[in-house]
């Protein structure tokens, strides 16, 4: 070296430095695989949805770390120093584990929340199912109930697959359908819990029984909630039959085609024997009476029904079986119809009421539903 000129040294020294830079290994960069593993797990469990800020901060810190590693790696190996990088790495691992812990907790909470909601909606389906069967609800209520039930089943599948947001969407759909079904069912039930109506119905029944006693005649009382037809004679009960009503039988009849069974005080206008009725034997009632006509006109004037609606008629007590398939009439088993037919005449009073019992089963069902909704 002593023989080398200054120019020669200037050339040789960088050579030596470069060779040393390549051959010397400073301490290696820290292992960032644990961070990548945490990041992958956070991605898998949708950390961006559960803890967006925390996850974003973690991701930014990873980027800062990687930039620092890149910076150090780019330097001559003799000058590399990973001391700070090691410290940052440890900090990020701790931060990542904390984010992971929080996200897992939040995720567990969400899963439990979805699970509880599904369970609660299943109970709701059960209650509405019972109600629709009890009041023989029409196809619209059953359709909504079924669609709600299907959405709950889909929500359960999403829950099992860990897709909680999708499950919540299905729960929302189910909820909408079930509320719709309830809207169709509850107005019918509310009438049976309405005190003023029950008082009116009781008055109808008492007046009819008194009339039967006073006039020494037979009289018929139809109780929709109890699904019974009771025959009175001289103010005393003679016999009670089970009856069937139609799909809208628990509503008060308002117009033609509504399938509802009228409520009020009527009388028999015609007795149709075997062969004269489609349903074995029939007792035609004087529906619509004056009250019915008044209600119909009022509803028309208020725009509650179409102007072209008709009030309808041909409401009967008939045979054919009490299995609940009438369109507003009251159906009896044929053998019961035979007995009744013999004991009544044209002019026999027929009083049809919702209920006279404030504690009737519809009232109890409504309370059950309301208690559920409160919880």
């Amino acid at each position: 070296m002593q023989n080398l000129s200054i120019n020669g040294r200037a050339i040789v020294l960088p050579f030596i430095f470069i060779i040393l830079s390549y051959s010397c290994n400073s301490s290696p960069p820290p292992e960032i695989k644990p961070i990548e593993d945490i990041d992958r797990e956070l991605y898998r469990i949708d950390a961006d949805k559960y803890l967006p800020d925390g996850y974003l901060r973690f991701k930014l810190n990873i980027k800062v770390l990687k930039d620092k590693i890149i910076h150090e790696k780019s330097r001559f190996s003799l000058l590399r120093n990973y001391e700070e990088v090691y410290k940052i790495t440890k900090g990020i691992i701790d931060e990542g584990n904390e984010v992971l812990r929080i996200v897992r907790t939040k995720r567990d909470e969400k899963r439990q929340m979805v699970f509880d909601k599904i369970k609660s909606l299943k109970d709701r389906v059960k209650i509405i199912d019972e109600l629709t069967l009890k009041i023989n609800a029409g196809i619209q209520a059953r359709k909504r109930l079924t669609l709600g039930d299907l959405a709950i089943k889909e929500a359960k599948i999403s829950l099992e697959n860990g897709k909680y947001d999708s499950a919540l969407e299905k729960i929302e759909t189910a909820y909408t359908f079930l509320v719709d079904a309830e809207k169709l069912v509850t107005p019918i039930l509310r009438r049976y819990a309405h005190n003023d109506l029950i008082v009116k119905w009781r008055r109808f029944v008492n007046d009819t029984i008194k009339e039967s006693g006073r006039e020494k005649i037979t009289a018929i009382i139809v109780d929709k909630a109890e699904r019974t037809l009771t025959l009175y004679k001289n103010g005393k009960i003679i016999i009670t039959f089970n009856i069937g009503l139609g799909n809208n039988g628990y509503k008060d009849k308002l117009l033609s085609g509504d399938g509802a069974t009228p409520e009020g005080r009527y009388h028999i206008t015609k007795k149709a024997g075997e062969g004269e009725s489609k349903y074995y034997k029939a007792l035609l009632l004087n529906y619509p009476n004056q009250d019915d006509k008044r209600e119909f006109l009022r509803a028309k004037q208020r725009g509650l029904i179409s102007k072209t609606s008709k009030i309808g008629g041909l409401i009967e007590i008939h045979g054919g079986g009490n299995d609940g398939t009438t369109y507003g009439c009251i159906a009896l088993e044929n053998h019961d119809m035979d007995k009744l037919f013999e004991m009544v005449t044209v002019g026999t009073p027929v009083t049809i009421v919702g209920t006279i019992n404030p504690n009737n089963e519809f009232y109890n069902s409504l309370k059950k539903l309301e208690a559920y909704l409160k919880t």
Partner: protein, 211 residues
């Protein structure tokens, strides 16, 4: 001696120029790797194989980091060989992921179609059961209600087909399975009603026998 130094210097400069001339950032490799990753994602990798898609993203990110490491070095010392290797691996893995995704998608489609078939067959089975259901006074209203339920479930089948047409195969499968579940539960309820009526008939028969 001067001559030797001059020759050495010339050789050194030529070598450096040669190295510097070769060490250009692998722009084309980067572009093609990115394109391959995008192509896998467009095929639905993030939906059908999310973990693999994330792995590929990380792999691409690591390769790009290696490019950055070399970019940050003294120009004469840059070496992109490792980065190129990493980018080539990303490309290969992306192509594999795309193929796997398409296979997975096809499998999901097959599953959805099979689930639709099963739902259809459960609906048919429930309808057959309902036809032979006892129409007695104790069960008729319930049977009518169940018929309504099956009709609503059957009407929902078109949504499964809609989901299949829209390539939402997991959604279609979930819908089909829920319809199948509903139809199967209706069948079970009808079966219970049949058994109830048969038990009632047997009890009636025994009573008559005693008389």
């Amino acid at each position: 001696m001067k001559r030797v130094i001059k020759i050495s210097l010339s050789c050194f400069l030529i070598t450096l120029l040669f190295i510097a001339g070769c060490a250009k950032p692998p722009t084309e490799d980067i572009d093609s790797a990115k394109q391959a990753v995008e192509s896998a994602k467009s095929a639905g990798a993030e939906k059908y194989l999310p973990d693999n898609a994330k792995g590929l993203d990380d792999e691409l990110s690591a390769a790009l980091d290696e490019v950055k490491v070399q970019d940050g070095k003294f120009p004469l010392l840059r070496k992109y060989d490792k980065a190129k290797e990493m980018l080539a691996s990303v490309r290969t893995n992306a192509e594999k992921l795309k193929a796997d995704t398409l296979a997975k998608k096809e499998e999901a489609k097959k599953n959805a179609i099979a689930s639709l078939g099963e739902a259809n067959s459960s609906i048919s089975n429930a309808k057959t059961m309902l036809e032979k259901a006892p129409a007695g006074k104790e069960t008729k209203a319930e049977i009518e209600a169940l018929k309504g339920d099956i009709k609503a479930a059957e009407d929902s089948l078109h949504e499964v087909q809609k989901a299949i047409d829209g390539e939402d195969y997991s959604g279609a499968t979930a819908k089909a399975n829920s319809i199948k579940g509903k139809a199967d539960s209706v069948s079970a309820q009808v079966q219970q009603a049949i058994e109830k009526v048969e038990a009632a008939k047997k009890a009636k028969g025994k009573k008559k026998g005693k008389k």
